[in-house]
Amino acid sequence: MRRLFNNHANAYGSGFMSPPVAPPGWSRWLVPPAALSVHLSIGQAYAWSVFKPPLESALGLSGTQSALPFQLGIVMLGLSAAFGGTLVERKGPRWAMTVALVCFSSGFLLSALGASLEQYWLIVFGYGFVGGIGLGIGYISPVSTLIKWFPDRPGMATGIAIMGFGGGALIASPWSAQMLESFGGDSSGIALAFLVHGLSYAVFMLLGVLLVRVPRTEKPVESGPSVLAGPQVSANQAIRTPQFWCLWLVLCMNVTAGIGILEKAAPMITDFFADSSTPVSVTAAAGFVALLSAANMAGRIGWSSTSDLIGRKNIYRVYLGVGALMYALIALFGDSSKPLFVLCALVILSFYGGGFATVPAYLKDLFGTYQVGAIHGRLLTAWSTAGVLGPLIVNWIADRQEEAGRHGASLYGLSFVIMIGLLVVGFVANELVRPVHPRHHVPAPKEPAHVQRQQSESA
């Protein structure tokens, strides 16, 4: 097993692009900020909407057109995470963070050029295609390294990084808005804002590139478990196991349920209390959306850390089981009590964030650390699927209900029933997760003949 670690470490090679092995005295607490510097940057993607109105007026675009860079970016995130995962495992976190930095910043710089030349296709290509590759590679870049540094608390470690992805939008949203206000919403102002974003994110992400280190040994914590404890499964073998597809279903259902609220949060709370004595104003609805973002972020670090204490399977039982209960409470009593509605929605969103953050540690428990980053990348296709499924269900049903003359809370009743059904499907899939069959494990390398001879002589 030890040789598996050495073989794996040697496969990185040497030079700047290889992950430098931590020198003596290196603290593992330097790795989470390295991961955060990447995730806080690429999390900007969820603040793209800030650029939509100025782009629409400056370049004469429709709402659908102005959403294209973001949509392509998310598609590229899923594709590059799924197909680039094995490469990330082979080349190491420093290489991955460098690729993420170059692609994400170049995406902004190309967009700046596109805005100044008023060539919208260049913004779509730059931010969506090039930047999207940076999103996917950046998202999975620190996962495997964090798990190796924190074998005793993998849930907390990945929770910190993935919380950063949620936090990135919180930073970028007001920052980008203020920048556009200063530079102006015309094409040259947008171009300047893109340029500043590209340069700032390059400098900010550089910390991650410079700080990231892989542990010197398989046991980075004296009292903790070995990195190589438990079964080790390659990414190619992992997707041949029922466990991978059960987890795929669990993630997809959990994310769909979260998006079910997130997608229409503002109109939902307004519709729910439209006929009450205290209707919800537009500003209050915006406050509700902000509160949901806070719950999403808190869930990522809070629930993922809790999973280190109560176990991965149990925490997903909570996400999916209690999540279904929360949806039932909203459907039955949500329109009669505003605090109950808000509380249930916050819990659902905290489970949504928790589901994202806990899944790398769940993968580590099942498949080991050997290629956990690559396996995680492939599992993220569940996110892409849910990103289409969630909004589709909620919007389509709400539109049909409106056409049928319904209004208020009854617009969402059927959506909630479907969400409960999806969560139950996820719950069952989680129950079906069992330890991976040994035939999928990476075989331990055979000892050379002379070592075997020495061992038999000393026995």
Binding site: A22, P33, P174, G287
Partner: protein, 46 residues
């Protein structure tokens, strides 16, 4: 495998590096959280 030298306590230089790294990521995050709290309070005041 030899005992892990990364387990030894960080030197004073590294403690500064740890502090710097956390401040580097903590400051923008604190700004984002401040803006979030400002907006979220609108639910109760708006």
């Amino acid at each position: 495998m030899s005992s892990d030298s990364s387990q030894s306590p960080p030197s004073p230089d590294r403690r500064w590096l740890i502090a710097f790294a956390w401040v580097w990521v903590g400051l923008p995050l604190a700004y984002g959280l401040y803006e979030l709290v400002r907006k979220a309070t609108q639910l109760f005041t708006g």
